[in-house]
Every structure is written in structure tokens, then in C-alpha cells.
Subunit: 345 residues, 2 copies
């Protein structure tokens, strides 16, 4: 194991001494090689290799006042969406030469968010991406004193901070209209937790699509994103013979609904059609394959970093941007035309 922990790390000064130049010259070789003559460049390079020199990023950051690191505040969950967005962020950040520091929050409250933001802020990140999509997030954020630009990723009300998200309302409408177009008189809805902005926007989109079609909106059932809550909602829905179409606010809950229906002998899509939201890698392999709304989380992460990068560069333009990504309806086997005879009564 080639570990040099014992032997002190080589510093700029060490390299300078070995190469017979000043520290500044070595610094230039590292940061702006064009300003150093080829000959000395060569000599310095050799010294660096020999000593295995690697710049101390921390010292650089201290003196430059920027760390080339972005902080990500994420919600403490192994859910597909946040995890994929984090990945997109990491990838985009790396491409632009940023490091990534993360802080997860376990609850939606003010204090957790403050701690997370401060812990990153104190580490002198150049900017923050927040994937903590609670209704309360934007407000909490406003009351915090921060030192860096922030981009909200996922959802949020514009005006608080620049925000990049996937058009939830659009996605929900797409899903609902699809079911309506299939001949269903109305569409039931299993919603996410009401303190998530995304839940609200999806519910709004569903309601809007129903209204536009002059269809009645049955009261939505609220879940917590988990398959189990979807299962429970499915049980409820199964008792209502009116149910012919369901729009579920995420794929995990849709799986639960599927499972409950299967257990109750309700066939999908023959008796009831189901649409999910997210398009996780698993969704195409559910039984039946799930019709759903695809969200490109990777792209979300990339756009967030790009935006943040711009904000970091010219600190002036803090115009409250709102960048919306188009979701996409993916039609698979869980939706079908409504049969004329009553479904399961």
C-alpha cells in the first residue's frame, strides 16, 4: 500500500527548492503554464513528479476565496428521484471541475435545513443545490442567512431562488388526459404527501386536466410515496366499483396499487387502468408494465449545476430564473380503453 501518510506531503516550496526556482514559478506551472518558459516548465514538472506533488486544494481555496466545490442538500431517502438527481449533479459538477459535498436532512423542519445549509456554507462551498422539495423549504430558505448562491432543484415556488424542475403539472395532465382519452369518465388519484411541493403540483395538474374535460374529481387519497401506502390506497380503491382509472403520484406507490388490485382480483388494464410517475428502471417490468410519466433526473441535475455555475461566475444576475424540463408520457401495458360494461361490480 503506497501510503505516504507518515512522510510529510510535498509542498510548493519543496518543489521550488528542488527545481531551483521560486514558489511563484511553480504555482504558475500549475495554474497558468503559458506564462512560464518551456525549459523551466520542464524542470519544474520533473520536480513535481519526483516529489509526487499535488496542490493542496484547501490552501488554494483559502487564498482564492473559492473552493470549486458545490454543496448539495438532499433529503434522507434512498428514493429513485433524489438519488438520480444527485448523480446528475455529481456528473455535471465533475465535468466543470467542481467537487461535491452533501448534507442530508432527515426531517422537513426549519432547523434541519438550517443545519444542512450552514454545514455546507461553512465549508466554503461556492454554491448550493437544494433537492429538498417540501412546501416549507422555500420559506425556510429565505429566513436563513447564507453566503452563496442557491439553486432549488426539483420543485418550488419561483421567486425564492432560481429553480430548475420538471414540469409536474404538465406531467400530471399528460397522464390524466391519456386516461380520459381512453374513454374513462374520470380518473382517481393517489397523491404524495401534501407537504411535498411535487405532490401538490401533480395533484393540481390532475385536477386541471379533469376540469378541462368537465369530469368530476373524486377526492384524492394521500400516500407517503412508499409502496405500502400505495397498497393501502389500492385496497380503498378496490372497494369502489366506480374506479376505472387511477393516476398514482409515483411508481413505487403504483406498484403497491398494482399489488392490492392483484390481490383483489382486479385486472389491470382490463378492469382498471393505472398510470404512475417517475419511470424508474423497474417500472417497465412490473406486472403489467407500467404506463408512467418519465422524469429525466439526470438532466435535472445537469441543468441545476449549469445554472449554479453561471450564478457563481457572475454574482450579479440573481434574477429569479425558472427552468422547466418537459416530462414525457411513456405508454405501456397498464392502461387500456374503458370497457363499456361496468368494470368490476
Amino acid at each position: 500500500m503506497t501510503e505516504q501518510s507518515a512522510a510529510k506531503l510535498a509542498t510548493l516550496a519543496d518543489v521550488a527548492r528542488l527545481a531551483g526556482v521560486s514558489a511563484m514559478t511553480v504555482s504558475r506551472v500549475v495554474n497558468e503554464p503559458a506564462k512560464v518558459s518551456p525549459a523551466t516548465q520542464e524542470r519544474v514538472q520533473q520536480a513535481m513528479d519526483q516529489l509526487r506533488y499535488r496542490p493542496n486544494v484547501m490552501a488554494q481555496s483559502l487564498v482564492r476565496g473559492r473552493s470549486r466545490t458545490i454543496g448539495v442538500v438532499t433529503f434522507d431517502t434512498a428514493q429513485y428521484g433524489p438519488a438520480a438527481a444527485l448523480l446528475g449533479i455529481e456528473r455535471a459538477a465533475r465535468e466543470r471541475g467542481y467537487g461535491v459535498a452533501i448534507a442530508a436532512i432527515e426531517r422537513a423542519d426549519h432547523a434541519s435545513l438550517r443545519d444542512a445549509v450552514h454545514s455546507l456554507d461553512d465549508r466554503l462551498v461556492d454554491g448550493l443545490v437544494i433537492i429538498a422539495p417540501f412546501v416549507s423549504t422555500a420559506g425556510a430558505l429565505r429566513s436563513l442567512d447564507r453566503r452563496t448562491p442557491v439553486v432549488l432543484a426539483g420543485a418550488g415556488h419561483a421567486g425564492e431562488a432560481p429553480i430548475v424542475g420538471i414540469d409536474q403539472g404538465k406531467g400530471a395532465s399528460l397522464a390524466t388526459r391519456h386516461l380520459l382519452d381512453l374513454g374513462h369518465r374520470t380518473v382517481h388519484h393517489v397523491a404524495g404527501p401534501s407537504d411535498w411541493i411535487e405532490s401538490r403540483l401533480r395533484t393540481d395538474g390532475w385536477r386541471a386536466a379533469l376540469e378541462a374535460a368537465a369530469a368530476a374529481a373524486p377526492p384524492p387519497i394521500e400516500g407517503d410515496w412508499s409502496p405500502l401506502s400505495g397498497y393501502n390506497a389500492g385496497l380503498l380503491l378496490a372497494n369502489d366499483p366506480q374506479t376505472t382509472a387511477v393516476f398514482v403520484a409515483n411508481d413505487q406507490m403504483a406498484l403497491g396499487v398494482l399489488s392490492a388490485f392483484h390481490e383483489r382480483g382486479i385486472r389491470v388494464p382490463e378492469d382498471v387502468s393505472i398510470v404512475g410517475f417517475d419511470d424508474t428502471p423497474e417500472s417497465a417490468f412490473y406486472t403489467p408494465a407500467l404506463t408512467t410519466v418519465r422524469q429525466d433526473f439526470i438532466l435535472l441535475g445537469e441543468v441545476a449545476v449549469e445554472l449554479l455555475d453561471r450564478l457563481v461566475a457572475d454574482e450579479g444576475s440573481t434574477a429569479p430564473v425558472k427552468h422547466l424540463i418537459e416530462p414525457q408520457l411513456v405508454i405501456r401495458a397498464s392502461t387500456g380503453r374503458m370497457r363499456q360494461d361496468h368494470p368490476h361490480s
Copy 2:
């Protein structure tokens, strides 16, 4: 938005000036309050509040030579396992006052790993947790020059670095023996990619359990963890009338197998029994509910951080530790007794 980006941040010196004490005293109030008299403590505290002082972690790190940050190298995937482990690490790190920086690698090659390790190393992390479970990882790691302690999380051959993992062989044996106990003559196997250590260990465990029962081991089918590859494997398996029991190396592929069997009219568990690996939140809601091997990824992350913390504290004991967590068989509806008449021929 209370952003102070324009007004320069308050420094120790500013606080000292306002409180009428020396910088050192302020530093003491922050780090070892016991050494300062209550009276000045009070005064300094007031000055800090007034100026909204927050210590510059970077400057502290530079002078102390430690950053109270750990780096996590993870594989670029939204898979459940790595994502959950990352969460466990973050949580454990936060509890111990560590920040977390991440670097994802997209491919299994040497260069990617080196870049990731160096990029974290250069940011002066105090230690590294690596969740990049390729066969080649350990070797690559050895040839790298690093400056901090490393803990391998997930799997790995002992001896390269301290390692904490879930006992894959044990889990695979548990799964296989369960199927054998149900009366199946042999157990087919859908394996993960052969360049993942975890795949190999699971395959080994499966083979060992078969051998112990003097059962023949059919050639395993290799997938890539994805549901699609599981689906393809399922199609293959469906053609073989001998198949009565399948051990699939992760739940996502098991879902694919389930889907293929369903499509071919093979009933689970009546015709064929299936066991997965991981126990994702979805697994209990597959059709049928999946019997699987539970891995506690959160615990994995916590143990990894705990171990790393110890290594960071006393840099001496680099004894190659190996900490194994026990997996757990979760029996659900996808496994059943083998029927005496031939399954599906």
C-alpha cells in the same frame, strides 16, 4: 433573501476587535470555552452574534491539518444498494461531526478510480470510504498513492484495506438452502456481472450450498443487475423444463425474471420458486411478494464510518480488519415446496 455575499464575511479578527479582545481569545471561545472566563465569554459571544460570525472551516482545516470531512467514492448508479449505503454513511458521518464529499466513478477502470480518489484526497479529506465493488478495485487501490486511511464498503478481498461488508456468501447459502429445503433438486442461478466482487461471492455461496447438499450446479446465467437482463435470463430459464427454483443475485433482476415467467405463463411459486437479494422497499410488493435476502445497507454505512473514524483517530493500527454483517433471509410468497409432478413440461 438574507444573503451577505456582498458584505465581506466577519472574521475572527473582526469579532476580536468588536469585543475588545485578542483573536486568540475568540478562537478559544469557539473551540475550548472552558479556558475563557465567563465574563469575556459573554462579551465575545455577543460580538459573534452581532457580526453573524461563523468560523471559516477551510482556514481551520488548513492550520490543523485535518478537515473533519470524509470522502466517499461511489459507483455512478441510482441502484438501491449504493444509494442506501451512501445515506448510512452520511448519517453516521454527521453524527460524528464529519462532512461528506463524494466522487462517483462511471466505469470500473483504474483511471476513473484514481481520479476519484485523488480528487477527494486533494481536498484533504481525513479518510475515504470506497463503495466501488469491482474485482479490480482492491488492486487498483494498492497501486495508488494515497494520503489518507481507506475503508472498503460492500465487499472486497481482505488484506488490501480494512473492509466492512455484508456476508454475501452466507446470504447466498441461506437463499439456496431455503430452496433446497423446499424440496427442489437443484437451484438455478442468475448472477450479477462477473467483475463485481459481490457477484462472485454470491455465486460462490450458491455453489457451496449446492455442493453441501450434493446437488448438481447448473451453469449460472450472467446478468448486469438490471431488470432487463433479469428478464432475458428469465426467458432462457423458461425454456428449460428442469427449472424449478432460481436464486437471482439481486431484486431488480428477480423482477425481470418474474416478468418473463409471467409472460410465459409460468406460475410463481407453483411452477418455479424464486429468491432475490437485497430486499429493496419494492420487493414485498412484487407479484408475488419476493422472498429475498435482506442487506442492511444503512448499518453498513454506519459501521464503515465508525471504522474509518477509529483509523483517523489513531493512525497506527492499520491492521487489516474485516467486519462482516449478517444478512437475513426474508421469506415471502415467491417460494414454495416443489410439486411432485413435473413443474411445467
